[in-house]
Symmetry: C2
Subunit: 163 residues, 2 copies
């Protein structure tokens, strides 16, 4: 028999491992596809690989303030890759720059992820009010990781079509 | 301050809610896309929507024995949608039949999901040996749900391209 505390730590770890697995999957795609492949649309008229990679970096970068870990590293990505669509005409960083940015954002997230204890993962993220959190305790930091993991999996499915 | 037991129950619920959200997402797609849309490839030369839906049902159906909930409802789906590719030439159920099958598989999973208590989610799934589970306690039933949630999100990202 295991105690609740052992299972709680295990499940937090399982959740973080699931996030890490999607990031590893994304990094593997970045290591194997050429820049020309990323420049293509994943399906006719849909987003390019480059846009989706930039989008995923922008969303991961926004986790830093959302989780109370500090400021975004690349705030300019939000306008290019979240607020605007692929064909906005806005200038985008190239794949080599995006790869560096992904590395930096993930290193920052990893550092903070490793510094949190189990209880801290159940604290509210920074976009929920104290009143709402009292009623909706699932709006905690760990749930941000769960939701962003699914978001990343969704777009990785699309990036795989560049194969 | 919350107890470990409260947080454990909360995190189990968060994990199951995340699975349910992806299923809801899939059901919304099934309700809004036409059968003709599903018959199309998500990108040129890639899987059709119909194949991906069948694949997701087959994988969900296989969760029943994997989680110790009983036999698969539609064992014939494995050959068509997991062991063989889209262009296998094997006859596939039509979308109306697939929709019924998805409904039945999800109803069975939901019934069993709701019957498990927190501790039971941390029991081994049926494909891990006692020896391996002793060393790798993350190979539990809840981790199957986490991994299948990400798998579904991956393919939903592809199905979205049929829009």
């Amino acid at each position: 028999m295991h105690s609740n505390s052992t299972h709680l730590q295990l499940l937090v770890n399982m959740t973080l491992t699931s996030w890490a697995a999607q990031n590893k999957y994304l990094n593997n795609l970045l290591a194997t596809f050429s820049d020309e492949q990323f420049a293509k649309e994943v399906a006719p008229g849909k987003n390019t690989g480059t846009y989706l990679v930039g989008h995923l970096i922008a969303v991961s970068d926004a986790m830093l303030p959302l989780l109370g870990f500090g400021n975004k590293h690349y705030p300019e990505l939000e306008n290019i890759f979240i607020k605007n669509p692929d064909k906005s005409g806005l200038e985008k960083p190239g794949m080599s720059e995006l790869k560096e940015q992904l590395k930096a954002v993930n290193a920052a997230l990893d550092k903070h992820f490793n510094s949190l204890n189990v209880e801290e993962w159940f604290e509210p993220h920074t976009a929920v009010s104290t009143e709402d959190f009292a009623k909706e305790p699932h709006r905690n930091k760990l749930n941000v990781v769960i939701s962003r993991t699914n978001h990343m999996a969704n777009h990785i499915g699309q990036l795989l079509l560049l194969k």
